[in-house]
Symmetry: C2
Subunit: 204 residues, 2 copies
C-alpha cells in the first residue's frame, strides 16, 4: 500500500497509527499542503476532492477519507468490534469526529500553525473554539462512564478521536477542564505499538 | 425502533428513506429544532450531542449520526456491498457527505429556510455555496463515469448524498451545471419503495 499524507496532519496520523498497530508496512509520500500539492492534477486523479490522507491499495484503488481508510484496514481485526450495535457506535463516534469535532479542534490548529497572525481566517477562531469545547464536553461526559468510546475496548473510534484531541492545545484549546479526556489520552498512548504524531514547527 | 427526527431534516430523511425501502415499521417523533427541542435535558440523555436523527433500538440503545444509523440498518442487506473495498468506498462517500457536502449544501438550506433574512448567519452563504459547488463538481465528475456512487448499485452512499443534493436549490444552489447529478437524482428517485422528503414551508 502507498499512503499519500502530510506529516503534520492528524487525519494522516490516524492511518499511520493504525498501520503501525496492525504491523503493516507501506510506502509513504509527504505532500506539502501549504504549497497546494493536494490540488495539483496528478493528485486530483487519485482523490478528486484534493485531500490527504489517500491510501493507494495494492489493486490500484485510491481510498480517501481518513475514517473510511481506518474502517478498511480494521475490519476483521481487534480494532472493530464484531457486535452489530457496537460497529454502528464506532461509526457514530467517527461521524461525530468529522462533523462536530474536526472543524472545531483540528481547523483551529491549522489556522494557528499554518496561517499568519494577520490572516482573515484568524477571526474564525473564537466561534470554532466554542464549538470545539462543546464537542470536548460531549467526549468528557461519555468518558466519565466508559474507559474507551465503544465496547470497553480500544477501537478505531478512539484512534479517530485521539488524533486531533491530543494536540488540541496547539489550536488554542485548554484540556484541563476535561479530566476524563486526559485519563483516556494516557490510556490510548499506552496501547501496544503506539506511535506519536511528530512535533512540527509552526509554519513561517 | 423509535426514530427521533425532524420532518424537514435531510439527515432524518436519509433514515426514513432506508427504513421505507427495507420495509421496516417504526415509531416516529418529530422534534422542533427552531424551539430547541434537541437541546432539552430529556433529549440530551438520548444524544448528548443534541442532534437528530437519533434512533432508539429495540434494546434501548440510542444510536446517533445519520450515516451510522444507515450503516446499522443496511449491513447485511443489498444496500451495502459485500466486497471489502466497496464497503470502504461507501463509507468514503458518506464521510465526504458529512465533511465536504453537508455544511455547504444542507447548512445554506437551513439558513435560507429557518433564519430571518437579517440574521448574521446569512453572511455565511457566499462562502458556503462556493464550497458546495466544489463538492457538487466532485460528485458530477464521479457520476460522469458511474451510474451510482459505488459498485454500480444503489447503496446507502447514494441515499446519504441524495438527501440534501435533491433539495440543494432550496439553499440557493443551481444544479443545472451538473448533468450527471441530475441523471443520478432521477435514477435514485426511481428506485423501488422510494419515498419523498415532504415539502415544508419556509419558517416564519
Amino acid at each position: 500500500m502507498h499512503l499519500f499524507d502530510n506529516l503534520d496532519s492528524g487525519n494522516g496520523y490516524k492511518v499511520r497509527l493504525l498501520l503501525a498497530q496492525l504491523g503493516i508496512s507501506y510506502k509513504w509520500t509527504n505532500l506539502d499542503l501549504d504549497k497546494g500539492e493536494t490540488r495539483k492534477p496528478d493528485f486530483l486523479k487519485r482523490n478528486p476532492n484534493g485531500r490527504i490522507p489517500t491510501l493507494e491499495l495494492d489493486d490500484g484503488t485510491n481510498l480517501a477519507e481518513s475514517n473510511a481508510i481506518l474502517w478498511y484496514l480494521a475490519e476483521g481485526t481487534q480494532f472493530v468490534p464484531n457486535d452489530r450495535v457496537c460497529r454502528a457506535q464506532v461509526l457514530q463516534w467517527m461521524f461525530f469526529e468529522q462533523y462536530s469535532h474536526e472543524p472545531y479542534v483540528a481547523t483551529p490548529r491549522f489556522i494557528v500553525k499554518h496561517l499568519d497572525a494577520t490572516h482573515p481566517r484568524v477571526a474564525e477562531l473564537p466561534e470554532r473554539l466554542a464549538k470545539g469545547r462543546a464537542a470536548l464536553a460531549v467526549m468528557n461526559g461519555h468518558l466519565a462512564k466508559h474507559r474507551f468510546f465503544v465496547a470497553d475496548q480500544y477501537t478505531i473510534a478512539d484512534i479517530a478521536l485521539y488524533a486531533y484531541t491530543h494536540v488540541a492545545d496547539e489550536g488554542g484549546h485548554d484540556l484541563s477542564p476535561y479530566p476524563h479526556i486526559n485519563t483516556w489520552l494516557r490510556l490510548v498512548a499506552s496501547q501496544p505499538r503506539h506511535v506519536t504524531l511528530p512535533a512540527t514547527p509552526k509554519a513561517a
